[in-house]
């Protein structure tokens, strides 16, 4: 299973996302922002980092990259896409997911091991988890506050599109403690915390992050979706 990992100027966690894909049993394919060719990948990860230095707004410039034109088009045809942190910001700026990410309410960058509750587990990226499963993965951001108007938030809740929610501590002021959301068909997931940093017990607080990557490999192979 080939999973593309996009590198924008300023992407930081692309290598780590590729490592996670490999550990989960997939083949990571590096995709360059300036190239609209997706090289036949079966799914795409938009990694974390500071694409374009977070200038203007996080993800606002990356969203217009040539590779994104193709990704938006293919996503409309069902291509699975996972946006992590900056990737989530790009998905929102590109209107593939509703809402927006704003400055943390306490104004500081925060890096912490964050407990999450998994809520939607029938997406291409979360089907390895059980409903209500509690996991710990690192969170690190300065602009991670998820916001949307009440009508959108009610719709996300009502339609079961919230993928994960913060437990114990809301680290950034996200509305309704939302840590990640999905599109109705479950092919596109945006997640603020970083599963790619929880894939080895040597370097992370747990290996709970692997589930995000193995989920997509399962669904691509046609298991249990």
């Amino acid at each position: 299973m080939k999973i593309g990992v996009v590198t924008f100027p300023g992407s930081l966690d692309d290598r780590d996302a590729a490592r996670a894909v490999g550990l989960a049993g997939g083949d990571a394919v590096s995709l360059w922002h300036g190239d609209d060719d997706l090289k036949g990948v079966d799914a795409v990860v938009l990694p974390g980092g500071f694409s374009y230095g977070d200038y203007l707004r996080c993800g606002a410039i990356a969203r217009f990259a040539p590779v994104m034109r193709t990704i938006v088009e293919r996503a409309g045809q069902g291509l699975p896409v996972l946006g992590i942190c900056n990737g989530f910001q790009i998905l929102c700026e590109a209107h593939l997911l509703p809402g927006a990410l704003t400055r943390n309410d306490h104004l500081h960058f925060v890096c912490r091991d964050q407990r999450l509750r998994m809520e939607r587990v029938d997406t291409d990226w979360t089907n390895s988890f059980a409903v209500g499963e509690e996991i710990v993965i690192p969170l690190k951001n300065g602009e991670g506050g998820y916001v949307a108007d009440d009508a959108t938030l009610d719709r996300l809740e009502g339609d079961g599109l919230v993928v994960a929610r913060y437990l114990d501590v809301n680290p950034n002021g996200s509305r309704r403690d939302i840590a990640g959301i999905s599109n109705p068909s479950g092919t596109i997931v945006g997640l603020m915390p970083h599963p790619e940093h929880a894939v080895e017990s040597l370097t992370g607080p747990s290996t709970d992050g692997l589930g995000f990557f193995s989920s997509t490999i399962r669904s691509l192979v046609g298991i249990g979706s």
Binding site: P9, G10, L12, D13, R15, D16, R19, G34, G49, F50, Y52, G53, D54, Y55, H106, H108, F109, V110, C111, R112, P138, K140, G142, H194, E196, H197, V199, E200, L202, T203, G204
Partner: protein, 775 residues
């Protein structure tokens, strides 16, 4: 690439060319305002055989400044090179004199690391001062050919509750985080120390580690006549020019120059692009020599590259891409605009080089070529404005052997015995002292700071703060890793500079060893007051002597470092603060020893000897506001033994946890281990110590607390006994203590007769920083 930015050449006749300098020897030049002494100015005239042009004057004034030339410290720093074992240091691949030192860590891997200061800019503009400090040290590492892997930040501030500290500390932390996080470098450790002497002069030191294969090591030299000199990265603006503007006013007409910022502003995104672009051109084999642009910008890069190489270079300064078209040539030469590098590239590689820059959207321009003239010549639109022998600029600056004498108050300080201070004896007093100590700013939890730093990026961080050393994996296949710690108890150094320097080295060495890594090399950032103060100079000389002697005894070389003078608050010099960084290697990071003990039943040992050592201790400072007495003597043979045992214990799986004993003594070590584990323990003083306060807060060196599983206890104690290392059984991990002590369902720490819950300790320990600096 476009030709040089839209700079407007000044009216001819106003440009101070070499010809003009030759024909107008009588022109008075503002050399004093640029910081040059009359004899230094005279020497420049002698070297050139005429008066310098204003551009040449600018170059010499900055390159011969203390910061760039090390003129007051060179005579002493020589010891780092002179004091070495027969046959040299086997692990040293590149020593002092390059951008950063490089050591062999095995398996064909080399590691480069260095610590540097950015103190004064951080007082003026905390965020940008600290941010550009990180930027600068990362470029130094990059210019050796390494991929930067991690950063650390040893910081020192005035009193924690001073209003100005509230201005400076959050800005510095935000700057380090803002720059380092955006670059994608994990912050794996550092220090935060508060002391009144830093109130007007915070110390912001920044360390970076990088790794490369042996064959990828690059040096800053311009070799190969005809090779091209390329300036790439950010455009050049008026950053950091400050005093050099006084020259610009000489060559401008009535309109005058725009206000020149003296603070450099960093752009981490540009630096991230620079890193990727540079690594690509290096790996493609397109670079003959490379240099980063730091202090003194283009002047420094060109004179150093030329000086190290064939000895000659010609530069067309008007080709430099400018952000500000009103800059004069002098200002362009001296600009400290960030995120710029200089590479030497053969003509047949230049197109490929430019292609890579284009791909990363990094601007690049050829500004000159390597020559064999033995001179550095710089033209501005065809007019010669610089013609100097580069060695005289870059390496043959003035060397001073400044007057020194032993501080007159040292004897009185030594006689003011800290061991005579009143100590707590009752369980109640000891308990109260404990809670006060763990909440004191130097000992309190730093997570308010460290949670603003990304520790995870790159996915190779194995240990990070609050562990003893930061550890990163270098090779994912083999598990090869390196560990780094930075330390300095400046109070020890104040009381006895020679011993204090050795003690700083010992602490850093010990912090690396307790994680299971074998110490290999040293870097240092020597932060001192004014070298024109004979007492400061004497202290500096003694510190360097102590460090050099200590390194020889421990078998690890100083590979490079930095000197920062003129640090003081009003007329009071800062505490002499030689920050020592030690780097060690571990064959397999899986074997590392962290500081958290396990769930239950393991035995706690105190290795080493505990004596009455309160001089310069945190306890004397917090409880009595006292600084005095004779600090402990460094016993480096004991430190070597302790390190050997810790490394063997780690490698052979005999230890669950280890933590060095330093500031705040055994009490602090135990508290930190307990909080990290979340599990309580029972601890008691060893027979050799009769007084509880001594057991808890004395700061005798050469000690570590280790935790041993019962199954390994005999093997471990036998090893210690055979090697002659005292090992005192001082406790046991006990998750059930709460029930025995009236705190059912809670984790409890019992030290002698004192009982305190982990919740109470944690509350005291965690509350300090948020209360001081805002949640």
């Amino acid at each position: 690439m476009r030709p040089g930015g839209s700079a407007t050449p000044p009216l001819s006749g106003c440009l101070d060319t070499v010809d003009r300098a030759e024909s107008t020897p009588e022109v008075a030049q503002p050399y004093a305002e640029l910081g040059l002494k009359p004899d230094e100015y005279a020497r420049i005239c002698e070297i050139l055989g005429r008066r310098p042009t204003s551009s040449e004057l600018a170059m010499y004034s900055v390159m011969w400044s203390e910061h760039c030339s090390y003129k007051s410290s060179k005579v002493h720093l020589r010891q780092f090179g002179d004091k070495q074992p027969e046959g040299g240091w086997p692990q040293l691949l590149v020593g002092i004199g390059e951008n950063a030192g490089v050591v062999d860590v095995g398996d064909g891997w080399a590691v480069t690391f260095k610590v540097e200061s950015h103190n004064h800019p951080s007082y003026v503009e905390p965020y940008q001062g600290a941010a550009t400090g990180i930027g600068g040290i990362v470029r130094d590492i990059l210019s050796m050919g390494a991929r930067p892997l991690a950063v650390m930040d040893p910081l020192r501030f005035g009193p924690a509750d001073a209003p100005d500290t509230r201005r400076v500390l959050p800005g510095v932390v935000a700057g380090i985080g803002g720059y380092g996080n955006c670059l994608g470098l994990p912050n794996i450790g550092g220090e935060i120390v508060f002391d009144a002497t830093y109130a007007g002069n915070p110390l912001v030191n920044a360390l970076c580690i990088g790794a490369m294969r042996h064959e990828d090591i690059h040096l800053a030299s311009a070799k190969g006549v005809g090779n091209l000199v390329v300036l790439y990265g950010a455009r050049t603006g008026g950053d950091g020019i400050g005093g050099v503007s006084v020259l610009a006013s000489e060559t401008f007409d009535a309109d005058g120059p725009a206000k020149r910022p003296s603070v450099q502003v960093g752009d981490p995104f540009m630096e991230k692009l620079l890193i990727e672009c540079t690594l690509d051109v290096l790996h493609a084999g397109l670079v003959e020599g490379i240099q980063d642009l730091g202090g003194a910008g283009i002047s420094c890069a060109t004179s150093e590259l030329a000086s190290n190489g064939e000895g000659g270079m010609h530069v067309h300064l008007d080709r430099v891409l400018l952000r500000d078209p009103t800059l004069s040539p002098e200002e362009i030469l001296m600009s400290e605009s960030q995120e710029r590098m200089c590479a030497v590239v053969t003509p047949d590689h230049i197109d490929a080089f430019m292609d890579i820059c284009r791909m990363w959207e990094v601007e690049a321009v050829v500004i000159g070529e390597v020559t064999d003239s033995g001179r550095l010549t710089i033209d501005w639109h065809g007019d010669r404005i610089v013609d100097v022998p580069p060695r005289t600029v870059a390496h043959e600056g003035p060397v001073y052997d400044r007057p020194m004498h032993r501080p007159r108050d040292l004897d009185a300080l030594a006689a003011d015995d800290a061991n005579a201070l009143a100590r707590p004896h009752t369980a109640e007093d000891i308990r109260a002292t404990l809670l006060r100590m763990v909440a004191s700013p130097n000992l309190a939890s730093k997570s308010w700071v460290t949670s603003q730093y990304d520790r995870y990026v790159l996915g190779n961080t194995v240990l990070a703060q609050p562990e003893d050393a930061g550890m990163v994996r270098i090779d994912e296949e083999s598990g090869l890793g390196v560990a780094v710690s930075t330390d300095c108890n400046a109070r020890f150094v104040r009381l006895d500079p020679y011993e204090g320097a050795k003690l700083a080295l010992a602490e850093s060495y010990r912090n690396v060893a307790v994680t299971g890594a074998r110490p290999l090399a040293v870097t240092n950032c020597l932060n001192f007051g004014s070298p024109e103060d004979p007492e400061v100079m004497w202290t500096f000389a003694e510190v360097v002597r102590g460090l050099a002697d200590g390194c020889l005894e421990l078998g690890i070389p100083v590979t490079g470092g930095n000197v920062s003078f003129y640090n003081s608050t009003a007329d009071t010099a800062i505490l002499p603060t030689p920050v020592v960084g030690v780097l060690g290697v571990i064959d397999d990071v899986e074997r590392r020893t962290p500081m958290a003990w396990g769930p239950d039943g393991e035995i706690i040992y105190l290795l080493g000897d505990t004596r009455e050592d309160f001089a310069g201790s945190e306890w004397a400072h917090v409880m009595h506001g006292h600084l005095g007495g004779v600090p402990p003597r460094a016993d480096l043979a004991r430190e070597r033994l302790l390190a050997d045992i810790a490394i063997a214990g780690s490698r052979d799986g005999m230890l669950t946890a280890a933590h060095d004993v330093a500031d705040g003594g055994v009490a602090q070590a135990i508290v930190e281990m307990a909080l990290r584990s979340g599990v309580g323990a029972r601890v008691w003083a060893p027979d050799q110590v009769t007084d509880m306060a001594t057991f808890l807060w004395s700061e005798s060196p050469g000690r570590a607390v280790v935790v041993v599983p019962r199954s390994e206890e005999m093997r471990f104690t036998a090893m210690c006994a055979a090697r002659g290392l005292p090992a005192h059984r001082i406790g046991a991990v006990d998750s059930g203590l709460g029930a025995d002590t009236g705190y059912a369902d809670q984790q409890v720490l019992q030290m002698g007769d004192v009982v305190v819950t982990l919740a109470q300790i944690r509350e005291a320990h965690d509350a300090t920083f948020p209360a001081l600096f805002g949640a």
